[in-house]
Amino acid sequence: MKRFFGACVAALLATAVPAAAQSFDWKSQNGQTINLMFNNHPWSQAMRDLVKDFQAKTGITARVEIFNEEQYRARLQTLMQGKSADMDVFMSLTSREGAIFNRAGWYADLAPMIKNASQTAPDFNYEDFGASIRAASTFGQQVVAIPINQEGPLFYWRKDLFEKCKVAEPKFLEELATAAAALKKCDANQGVWAARGIRSITPYALAGFVYNSGGSFMTPDGKPGMEQPNTMKGLELYATMLRDYGPPGALNHTFTQITELLGQGRVAMTHESSNEFANITRFPNRANDLGVKVLPPGKDSGVSKPVAIGWTVAISANSKRQQAAWLFLQWATSREVQTKLVNNGVAPPRASVFQGEEFNAWTKEMPIRKAWADALIELGKTGTGVYQTNTDRVPEARDIIGGAMQAIYQGKSPAEAAKTADAELAKLQ
C-alpha cells in the first residue's frame, strides 16, 4: 500500500513539473543578452532610459542602438539581407514596409508566442490594441509586430496670432489659404505656414489634403489616380500653400525644421506629426498659445480622412534569442510602460491606457493635451495607413507622389505633374 501511495505521489510530481515549467516567468531568460535596433523617435529615446527596468525585471541585458531614420533603414536592410543573427529586435513601420519585409521573411511570427501561455504574460492582453492597429501588423495568420504608438499628421495653429489678426480658425480645408492670406496681410513679417517638402516624406502630410479634397491616390479599379480632379486639387493646395506662404527653402524641410519653425514662433500654422507634440510644446509659450486638431475637412467633399499609422517592434526571423526578445516586446508594449511613455508624448496604442486614469489625469493638466488626445481619438476612428497607389513598392510610390508636389511647387501645372506621376506609378504595379 505504501509502495502504491509512493508511486502515486511520484506520478503526481512528475506531471506537476511540466505544469510548473509551462507557467510564465519573467526571469525565464535570465542571463541572456539581446540587441535592439531602433529608429530615432520619441519612443526609442524614452526606451533608452527605461530599458534598465526591463533588465532588472528579467535579468536580460538589452543593448540599445538608435539611428536616424535613413541610416536606420540602411543598416536594417544590410543586416537582414546578410541574414545576420546579431540583431534581435527592430522597429518597423509596417504600413510602409510590412508587406515587403514579410515577403522577404524578415519577421519572426509572433502569433504562436502570443498564444503560448508559458511565453506570454497573463496580463499582456493582445486584444487591448485597437483592431485596426493590430490589422496593420498582421499578414494572413502571421502577427509580425506589436504596436508601440499611434500617430498621424495634425493641424497646429497659433490661436493668439489668429485672434490678434481677427482671423477665424479654419473649419474647412479650403479656408487654409484664406487664413494664410489674411495673416500675411495682418503682419508681413510673421511666417504663416510650414510643412514637409522633401519628396519621400511629404505624402504623410500631403495625403490629408488629397483625401479631404475628395481625391484618392488610386482610381476605383486600383490604377494610379493622381490625375483625378480632386486629387490634383489637393496636390495643388498643398504645393501652393508651401510655395506662397511657406518658408524659403521649404523643399528641403522635414519635421525637424517644421518643429523648430513652429516652436520658435516663426510660423502660425503647420500640418505635422502628432509625435512632435511634446517637442513643440517644450518651446516657451507654445503649450498655451497653440491649438491642435485633425486637418479640417473639405468643404465641398465633406471628407475628413487623416493619415493614421503606428510604429511597431518586431523580432528578427534570424534572431537566435527569440524567447528573450519576446519578453522585451511584451514589457515594452505593456500597459505599465505605455503609461510611463505618455509623458514623452508617445500616444499609447492600448485602449486601456488611452482610456486609463493616468492618461486622463495627464490630459486634464493642460487644455492642449486634451485637444491632442481628442485629435488622436479622431485619427483612430477615421484615419488610414494607405496613402499611395496599390503596390508593394510603397517607399518608391510615395517618393513619386512627393515628386509631383515638388514639381507643382516649382511651377509645373498640376495636370502635367499628375500625368508624369501616374505614368511612373503604373510601372510599380
Partner: protein
Amino acid sequence: MAQSGTRNSYRWMVAPAVIFAAAMIVYPFCYALWLSFSDVQLGSDPRFIGFGNYTRMLADGEFWNGLRLTFFLYFMALGAQLVLGTWLGLLLARSQSARGLVRTVMVSPFMLPPVVIGMMAIVILDPSFGIANWILAQVGLPPALWLSDPSTVMVTIAALDTWQWTPFVALIVMGGYLSLPHDVFEAAEMDGANGWFRFRYVTLPLLMPTLITATVLRSVDILRFFDVIYITTQGGPGNASTTLNILAYRRGFEFSELGYASAVMVTLSAIVFGSVLVFARLRKAAAW
C-alpha cells in the same frame, strides 16, 4: 639559396596583410559586380539577369541626370580647388612668418567629419534660420536659397567641398614648391622674367607632378562624394543634387533595388578608376 629562403619567409610575413586587403577590397567589389548582373529580391538569393540592370540604366533618365551632376560637381569643385589651392599654397610657401599658424588653421576644415560639415551647412545656409543670408543682408545683397534652389544647389555643394578641401591642395602645393630647386627661379629672375612668366614657364611646369598628384587624390574623393550631399539635400530639391552616389544609395537602400544600385556603383567605380589611370599617365608625362 639562403637569400631565396629569406625572400620566401618575407612573403609569408606579408601574406596575412595581402589576404586581409584582398578580403576587404576584392571580395566586396566582386560581390557588387555579381549583384550588378542580378535581380535581387529582399530575403532571397540574387538571380542572374546578365546585362539587364545595365541596359535599364542606359534608358533611365535619372541615371543620365546623375551622371551629368556628378561630372558638373567634379569639374567645378576640382577646378576651384586646384586654382585656389595653388594660389594659397604658393602664398604660404613664400610667407615665412604666417606659415605655422596659418597652416594649423588651414588644416582644420578637412579634419572635420563630413557629418559635421553637413550639419554646419544646414544651420548656416538655411534660408530662414541661417547666418549666411543675414550676412548677405548686411552688405545689401538679396537672400539666396543656397541648397533649396535647383539652380544653385550644386554650386553650393561644390563650394562646400571647395571650402573643406582647398587647404589640403594648398598644403600639397606648398610642400611641392618648397622641394623645388630654387636656383632655377634665381636664374629666371636674372634673365629678367617677371612674376607671371616665372609662374607660367617655371613654377607651373615644375609643380605639375605635384598638381597631378593632388588632382588624383581629389578626383577620387569628389567622384565618390556622398555624405555631405545626403545630409544637406538627400538629392533634392527634386533630383537637382542626385549624383550617381545618391542615386545608387536611394535605389539600393530606400527602394531595395540592390542589383540596379550595384550596377550604378560599378559604373561609377569604372569612372573613378578611369580617371585615376588617365592622371597616372599624365603624371608620368609631366615628370621631370
